[in-house]
């Protein structure tokens, strides 16, 4: 009843091509934004913001990045954690070595450096495909871990190899409290989501999808494969770099190469599989799922056993649940939660009639 588009007439091509052609979707988005900007800061506790919302939003940006590469352009990457690490370390070095650089420039610069690394890693993608490319991105993962673990230059010569991030300020306003961090990350989420959504609707996004569906055929109809694949790598790593920088600066407030290991790469991959490949909404659903699931498991384990369960066992159960869910989703709903949402919307349009 509520979700029905009767009475909404599109009288121009522009209206037909809008991001949200159906009015209810637009209202939904506006409501979400109001909740995020007004209600959450007013009512959410510190624990809520730091424990759930910050990681959720940062992982969403990372997931959008990987989804562009894997979900839209069809290039499987197991090295997303490496690009996040590059972003985090670049942001640190930009902020420390160029003290006058504005904060936004630091983050965008970190994204650009990560994008450059992405292009380098993606450059074999024209020649090698599928698993071979996945293994190549895996090489980037191990190489980045080694580089950041071996050369103290990246952490300004600190002996411990783990360093605190410098203080941030935006247009003279110091970003200190959790709420400040929340707004900073929220700003990045909104901008990157809008950017990603529009990229995948535009010419370049269509080229990515053509390459994903069949790269030889795409080449035949005049899509430049090299440019298309490398642009996907660049945009994807740009997002990952920003996510990595935000992760280091706003969430854990330190730069540490062990925070971006292979598990991180796989975690982001899980997000897009569960959330839905080739869907921007899916990135958010997947990120929320992966952030909340361990917490839920923890709570459930404590309730069921009365609190005397070892953390090791919970970690193992978490791994089993993740693994099992991945297989389950791939079998039952390869397009993830986003497709379930779409199906639900289709049903709502007709409700209460069956056809």
């Amino acid at each position: 009843m509520l979700y029905r588009e009767s009475g909404q007439f599109k009288t121009s091509y522009k209206a037909d091509m809008a991001i949200f052609p159906i009015r209810q979707d637009l209202w939904g988005l506006i409501t979400t934004l109001i909740v995020a900007v007004v209600i959450v800061p007013l009512f959410a506790s510190e624990h809520m913001i730091v424990g759930y919302l910050l990681p959720f939003m940062i992982w969403s940006i990372a997931a959008i990045g990987l989804n562009i590469l894997t979900g839209y352009a069809g290039q499987l990457s197991l090295g997303h954690g490496a690009f996040m690490a590059v972003g985090a370390y670049s942001a640190y070095n930009l902020a420390v070595r160029i003290p006058d650089l504005p904060l936004l420039a630091v983050f965008i610069g970190a994204g650009l450096i990560a994008a450059a690394c992405g292009v380098v890693v993606g450059s074999p993608s024209l020649r090698i495909k599928g698993f071979y490319l996945a293994v190549a991105t895996l090489a980037a993962q191990f190489f980045s871990e080694w580089v950041f673990a071996t050369f103290p230059w990246f952490v300004g010569g600190a002996a411990s190899m783990v360093i605190d991030t410098p203080k941030m300020s935006l247009f003279g306003y110091p970003i200190e409290s959790n709420l400040d961090n929340y707004f900073l990350v929220l700003g990045f989420v909104i901008v990157t989501t809008l950017l990603a959504k529009n990229l995948v609707r535009s010419e370049i996004g269509r080229a990515w999808m053509a390459v994903r569906d069949m790269d030889v055929a795409a080449e035949v109809i005049g899509i430049r494969p090299l440019y298309t694949k490398l642009s996907a790598f660049a945009v994807s790593s740009f997002f990952a770099g920003i996510a990595g920088a935000l992760y280091a600066f706003c969430y854990v407030k330190s730069v540490d190469f062990t925070a971006f290991d292979l598990f991180v790469s796989l975690k982001v991959l899980f997000m897009i599989i569960i959330g839905g490949m080739g869907s921007i909404l899916g990135c958010f659903l997947g990120a929320a799922f992966i952030v909340i699931l361990p917490i839920l498991l923890n709570v459930a384990a404590h309730h069921l056993t009365g609190g005397n369960v070892s953390p090791e066992l919970i970690t193992n159960i978490e791994h089993m649940t993740f693994g099992g869910l991945i297989v389950y989703f791939l079998i039952v709903e390869p397009h993830g939660l986003a497709r379930m949402w779409t199906t639900a919307k289709e049903k709502l349009r007709l409700w209460p009639f069956p056809h």
Partner: protein, 301 residues
């Protein structure tokens, strides 16, 4: 023999012998890839699972061969379950989907292995001592670990056995038919599901042997599953669907890795073992994208 040359040979031989162990893990990948076109990311977790199960049975005081038999039986059951629960519903899906499913399987098996047993480090003693080979040591002044030699012999025997199994007999022919074309094999009446279960069980056997050998070397613990990541460059180098490629690739990677660690490592900071193998494999891919012995990929629209 001059000191320099002896040292070089020592490193080279140690590298080649450890390369054989990489080949063994790579073989597990190749078996499954040949028969079902699945790149099994969970091979490392299978190695961990097998080694942990084996080590814990031995700790319980069960006879060595009996423990090995039980573990092998468990791996076969696991293979059947994987085929039944995961592969069968995913048949005819794009290979990349299957690959991601095995990443999920990897996590599941890791959690299962460590949840059922535990996350401690377990010693595993196969009764082969890790001592230098004395007679070679006396004659040429080159230090070769006897354990490495034994491991290489066992791997070699296993490879010959599997190669024979794959080439001869009814099942061997069926395996090759399935490897060549799933659908055509099915249409002439080859039971695809049975073949897949057999192949995964064979990969389980390989995982058990690899797990036992690596387990004595490193101790049975989580990090043993990372050995599989070492085997990936071997696969790339050798080609995904060639048993010979897995062996030769393993030898090349093993030797190159050790030589690089010794001669190149000190110059650029050490610890390069983690990625050097990947670098070799990548450079090689640029020249020959299908690997050393891989089948040439022909793409059609």
């Amino acid at each position: 023999m001059p000191e320099e040359l002896a040292w070089f040979l020592e490193v080279l031989i140690a590298g080649l012998l450890s390369g054989v162990m990489y080949s063994l893990v790579a073989l597990g990948f190749v078996l499954i890839f040949k028969a079902s076109g699945v790149f099994n990311f969970a091979q490392g977790a299978m190695v961990l699972f097998a080694a942990l199960t084996f080590a814990r049975f031995l700790e319980m005081g069960i006879n060595f061969w009996f423990a090995a038999a039980i573990t092998l039986f468990i791996m076969v059951v696991l293979a059947v379950i994987i085929e039944r629960v995961m592969l069968r519903p995913l048949v005819a899906q794009p290979v990349i989907i299957l690959f991601m499913a095995t990443i999920g399987l990897n996590y599941f098996l890791e959690g299962l292995a460590q949840g059922v047993w535990d996350t401690q480090v377990h010693a595993l003693d196969l009764g082969i001592e890790d001592v230098p080979w004395q007679s070679v040591m006396d004659a040429t002044n080159i230090l070769i670990s006897l354990f490495d030699v034994w491991a290489a012999v066992i791997c070699g025997a296993l490879v010959v056995m599997l190669a024979y199994f794959f080439q001869k007999g009814r099942i061997g022919r069926a395996l090759r038919a399935v490897a060549d074309d799933n659908q055509a094999a099915m249409s002439v009446g080859i039971p695809l599901q049975l073949i897949w279960a057999i192949v995964w069980a064979a990969a389980g056997l390989v995982a058990l042997v690899a797990g036992a050998l690596w387990g004595q070397r490193l101790g049975v613990q989580f990090s043993i599953s990372l050995v599989a990541l070492k085997a990936l460059p071997v696969l790339i180098l050798g080609g995904f669907n060639s048993i010979a490629g897995a062996i030769i690739g393993g030898l090349i990677i093993g030797a190159a890795e050790k030589l690089a660690e010794v001669y190149l490592g000190p110059i650029i900071g050490g610890g390069i073992e983690a990625w050097f193998a990947y670098l070799i494999a990548m450079l090689f891919l640029m020249v020959r994208p299908q690997g050393l012995f891989g089948e040439k990929i022909i793409e059609r629209v």
